[in-house]
Assembly symmetry: C2
Homo-oligomer: 204 residues x 2
């Protein structure tokens, strides 16, 4: 159906979701990157790029679900009718890069001056510590959404703040993240070139 404005002009419905992608193709030198995308979407897109280019194999783990009831309708797919979200016992992302096991969590915060430790669960930190003991490379990708700034923070800094929460400090100041983490600039391919900074962790 064609819709007209009161003045008679034809109304063209904007294509939902694809608008920023189109814009990107029309202006290849301008990096719009992350507009409207969640950090998870941005990382998934980056990981697809890394996978296709055979640079690394990194996947986000599915959300753990406790399934209670499933119905099996005839001639169609099984439908889960009742299920609940479970708390994950690990981080969200892991995989292999240049022979190294990578394991990380990605977190977005609206906070402007610090990163609250409440973004993590005890078992996630415990999991990362266990991975580090096995020789894995662990970190967090933190996005300050107000300023669209991205950082890769090595796990050691998180562990340090986590273990000292009893002293009263329940967050990591942004200035600490700036000092001890790596600022990641949005790129085109991949959108978030975080492996460039993983290289720095490997070569440390």
């Amino acid at each position: 159906m064609v819709i007209h404005y009161p003045n008679g002009q034809t109304y063209h419905q904007p294509a939902a979701n694809s608008s920023h992608l189109k814009t990107k193709r029309e202006h290849p030198n301008v990096i719009f990157g992350n507009r409207g995308m969640s950090l998870e979407d941005e990382l998934n897109q980056s990981n697809i790029y890394y996978l296709q280019k055979e640079i690394a194999v990194i996947h986000k783990k599915p959300v753990p679900i406790q399934i209670v009831q499933v119905s099996y309708p005839k001639r169609s797919a099984a439908v889960i009718k009742e299920a609940y979200f479970k708390q994950s016992s690990t981080t969200d992302y892991n995989g292999v890069y240049k022979g190294h096991y990578l394991d990380f969590e990605a977190k977005e915060t609206k906070n402007k001056t610090s990163f609250p430790l409440s973004n993590f669960h005890e078992h996630q930190v415990k999991h990362m510590k266990a991975c580090v003991r096995q020789g894995g490379i662990c970190f967090t990708i933190i996005k300050f959404s107000a300023t669209q700034q991205l950082f890769l923070l090595p796990a050691a800094i998180l562990f340090d703040y986590w273990d000292n929460q009893a002293n009263g400090r329940k967050s990591i100041e942004k200035k600490v993240i700036v000092k001890h983490g790596y600022a990641i600039n949005y790129h085109v391919q991949p959108l978030i070139p975080y492996l460039d900074y993983v290289d720095k962790l490997i070569n440390k």
Copy 2:
């Protein structure tokens, strides 16, 4: 309610699920191991042992689900009301062991003389090939349920058979698995000591 046998003796209902565990504790030298457990349960139990002993960090990935509808009842947890199973794009298990990235699939077959390749999807094999290219260690744990025999089969053998399916052979003969794989004997702690055979792959 107390139930009596016709002869007047009291009937004690056996505790469901825990019976074989009890038996195991009463007879510590007898390995009942896997009776009634799925290969997945056996591996999960083994991975918990490896994790607790700080030997390795290996987890089964959650089943991927496409969530369509979620309801948020007041004062209680969110309920998923409609969701569908998605095909996984990776294998089921991965993690880190002695600095190595491990990635594997576990499969049970009722077949007595061979292991059908239909147990795998194209993208799972593709995923394992990508992991091997990054220096990961990939394999399959195969259980022949009729004889309760377990094998660790290095990924290279699977790739070989997978890539040659066009020649007509749609399964791996058990004798090939016996020859090129490692027979794993059930143990107590861990139930499936598969990392002993991963050591052989690492030292190869």
